[in-house]
């Protein structure tokens, strides 16, 4: 009896100590995380002055993808609604920018928030009826969206230029800044990315974020706690679409051309691949996923011209085996392993 009580006390003490240690580690991790973030930003700002225009263009694409992936991750990762149709919102955003610049001569700066706004509305309206659909059924509904949009774009030829698309000019750096078009686009995209990531971070870590996750984990329990499921779900759909639309708008500026062929079903699947590889329900995962979908297909092609997608498939499977929680999950795991206080041998857990 005495002996048992003593053991329990020791275990409790150890638990308290470990909890304190973990808190410490988390705090240290927090500082380190902020440090890493600042360092990453510093590197991102230095890149344009050390890299060729082509590389900068690639990194501009990475940030564009990262925004779209973050949008999709809010919907799929955090809220549990699967979409294989986000390429459609990407297309709507891109065409909003292209049509506004091409038809109405509106300064490109205005087209980016407009693209976001239009996609917010479209996403919200699509999310409303789609609410009745769960899991795979929702996935199918969004799939149809991805299939339909390129054809709808061809139908409104007067606005969209049909299958020939719309050719744009690349924006030049404003205020007489001595930056090349590539450098300016890079900074513009980087700035938008940072703003949208901060917004998403604030949205997801508070009450709203917990509600979003609660709906994913158990929607009946969430409802019982007073969360308006249907409103939340459609708003999340709208916000997610808005993010993706802004990404589309930026891509239209970077590519300086839009056509229905740019937004085929493969784009939607690529985005979904990106969030799974990057890490579901993580914010940093969007960056890792974007790096993956931008660079790995190119590496695959360099390895084998004959079967690049087979190589890509191997990469995918390897990633899923080695990092089942995505790249972000994997890095977190490594971090925890490295910082965990040493556990005494033979201790009962």
């Amino acid at each position: 009896m005495d002996h048992e009580g003593g053991a329990a006390a020791t275990a409790a003490k150890a638990r308290v100590a470990r909890a304190a240690g973990e808190r410490e580690a988390t705090r240290a991790g927090g500082y380190l995380g902020v440090g890493a973030l600042v360092l990453a930003l510093a590197i991102a700002c230095a890149l344009p002055f050390t890299m060729s225009g082509f590389r900068l263009f690639q990194f501009t694409q990475v940030f564009t993808y990262a925004i779209a992936l973050l949008g999709l991750n809010i919907l799929t990762g955090y809220n549990g609604q699967i979409s294989i149709g986000h390429g459609a919102f990407y297309a709507v955003g891109a065409y909003t920018t292209a049509i506004m610049i091409d038809k109405w001569d509106i300064a490109y700066g205005w087209t980016i928030p407009t693209a976001g706004l239009i996609c917010l509305v479209v996403g919200f309206l699509f999310g409303r009826p789609a609410l009745r659909l769960e899991g795979l059924y929702l996935a199918l509904a969004t799939f149809s969206l991805a299939l339909a949009v390129p054809q709808i774009l061809k139908y409104f030829e007067h606005w969209t230029g049909g299958s020939q698309g719309i050719v744009l000019s690349k924006p030049k750096a404003p205020f007489g800044m001595r930056l090349t078009e590539d450098q300016w686009l890079y900074f513009l995209t980087l700035a938008v990315t940072v703003v949208l990531f901060v917004l998403a971070y604030n949205l997801l870590r508070g009450r709203t974020g917990r509600a979003i996750v609660a709906i994913r984990d158990n929607h009946i329990a969430a409802e019982a706690m007073g969360i308006n499921n249907s409103l939340y779900k459609s708003v999340v759909f709208g916000v997610s679409a808005a993010y993706t639309g802004i990404a589309g708008a930026l891509s239209a500026l970077a590519i300086a051309f839009v056509a229905p062929d740019s937004f085929n079903i493969f784009l939607s699947i690529t985005l979904l691949t990106g969030i799974v590889i990057g890490g579901l329900a993580t914010i940093s995962g969007a960056i890792f996923g974007a790096l993956f979908i931008q660079f790995v297909p190119n590496w695959a092609q360099d390895i084998s011209k004959a079967a690049p997608w087979a190589i890509f498939g191997v990469f995918l499977i390897l990633c899923m085996y080695v990092m089942p929680n995505g790249i972000a999950g994997f890095l977190r795991l490594v971090w925890i392993r490295m910082t965990r206080p040493a556990v005494p041998r033979g201790e009962v857990r």
């Binding site: 060729s52 225009g53 694409q61 054809q151 698309g165 051309f257 229905p260 740019s262 011209k305 690049p308």
Partner: protein
């Protein structure tokens, strides 16, 4: 020898000329060329929905290999760098920027598809990179005034439409024309060429125009409407899947107009055979290449050379795929231009020589078709010949029609 005043002046003048000459040479941009190598860049859809065309990119590489095995072009080997763009414009932009900025190719050649090329059109002209012999039938690549670095290759759709119109005006006195077209740029390009070709008479002669969407399951009702309109001439602007349906349906309901089938769907293997050789009898199309599955070319030297090359350099390629003949033909033209450049492989001279082709013949073009280009003419192939299907093969008839002469 003593220096007189006059010889001194002469010497100075010579020196000045030499300097000016050197200055002129220095203004030329030579990129992607060394004493032993010329870098040629390309994008093709090796994956994605249009990947059937990817074999063109492979055939081109296989032909360059043959040229390199035989010593290259003026002692330089061709390094052919080709990337997959999956027929998606953003990927094309990325890959072309990689070719131009990172791989530093001398020129871009046969980049495939209208949307992908539209996406890089401005960029390559800003960068002043030769953008030669694109694999697309759109009309806009022949615009040397605004896009002096871009040049097409094959006859464009409008050209072909005009050829049929000319035939109708000349040979069908009481023509009532019915048209079926695909509702996109491809279909409308053909339609425009045809209507332009008819000119004033277009309004009177065309009795009914029907369109379809590429996603439609069938075009049967359109064919029935066309028959009921009383048309005796049918211009069939459809891709292979719908061409088969149109030929079959009009045969089944007993409509026997003078039937023009666009070149896009002229393949014996993929259109006429599935539609039925009997039903296809009497079709008229315009050709510019030798149809490789057509037995009439069995003993043709151009065809036999092609088969020998296929067997040696591209054995995995299909012998009944016209795309492999297409890639071979256009690669020969590219090598011709590089040879014509001699030792001056500056980008300016490559463009100058591409725009200076005089009566060039390619082994798999129809006999008599000659490629001519000039500073204001960036449309290499402008001749085609009408052919009638006789139940077995396309029998060429009449004379070569030159669409550049209206």
């Amino acid at each position: 020898m003593h220096l007189t005043k006059r010889s001194l002046v002469l010497l100075l003048a010579l020196g000045a000329v030499a300097l000016a000459g050197a200055g002129g040479v220095a203004a030329q941009t030579v990129v992607g060329v060394t004493a032993t190598e010329i870098k040629v860049g390309n994008t093709n859809p090796y994956s994605g929905p249009a990947s059937a065309y990817g074999t063109i990119g492979k055939a081109i590489g296989a032909y360059f290999k043959k040229v390199n095995d035989e010593g290259g072009v003026n002692g330089r080997k061709i390094t052919y760098i080709t990337y997959d763009d999956a027929y998606t414009p953003p990927k094309t932009v990325e890959m072309v920027r990689r070719l131009v900025e990172q791989d530093q190719v001398a020129l871009l050649f046969q980049t495939l598809g209208t949307p992908p090329n539209s996406a890089i059109h401005k960029y390559v002209n800003q960068q002043k990179v030769p953008h030669l012999f694109l694999a697309t039938g759109a009309t806009k690549w022949n615009d040397p005034q605004h896009f002096p670095w871009t040049m097409g290759y094959q006859p464009n759709y409008q050209t072909e439409g005009r050829i049929y119109a000319q035939y109708v005006l000349k040979n069908v006195p009481d023509a009532k024309v019915g048209i079926l077209y695909q509702n996109d740029d491809y279909g409308k390009d053909y339609l425009k060429g045809f209507e332009d070709g008819l000119g004033e008479a277009a309004k009177k002669l065309i009795v009914l125009k029907q369109s379809y969407e590429v996603t439609d399951p069938t075009i049967d009702s359109q064919i029935v409407n066309l028959k009921q309109s009383g048309a005796n001439v049918f211009f069939n602007i459809t891709i292979p899947k719908f061409a088969v349906q149109a030929i079959k349906k009009s045969h089944d309901i007993g409509w026997k107009p003078l039937h023009f089938l666009n070149n896009v769907s002229s393949s014996l293997g993929t259109v006429l055979k599935p539609a039925g050789l009997d039903a296809s009898k009497g079709l008229i199309t315009a050709l510019y290449m030798k149809e490789i599955t057509d037995p009439q070319w069995k003993n043709d030297k151009g065809y036999q050379d092609w088969v020998a090359w296929m067997k040696k350099y591209y054995p995995e390629g299909a012998l009944d795929d016209q795309s492999n003949a297409f890639g071979y033909n256009v690669a020969i033209l590219m090598v011709h231009v590089l040879k014509q450049c001699g030792n001056d492989l500056s980008r300016e001279n490559i463009m100058r020589q591409a725009a200076n082709l005089k009566n060039v013949e390619l082994p798999l073009l129809l006999p008599g078709i000659k490629i001519n280009t000039g500073p204001t003419d960036f449309a290499p192939i402008e001749q085609e010949q009408l052919a009638k299907f006789d139940g077995e093969r396309w029998a060429i008839f009449g004379e070569l029609v030159d669409a550049s002469k209206k």
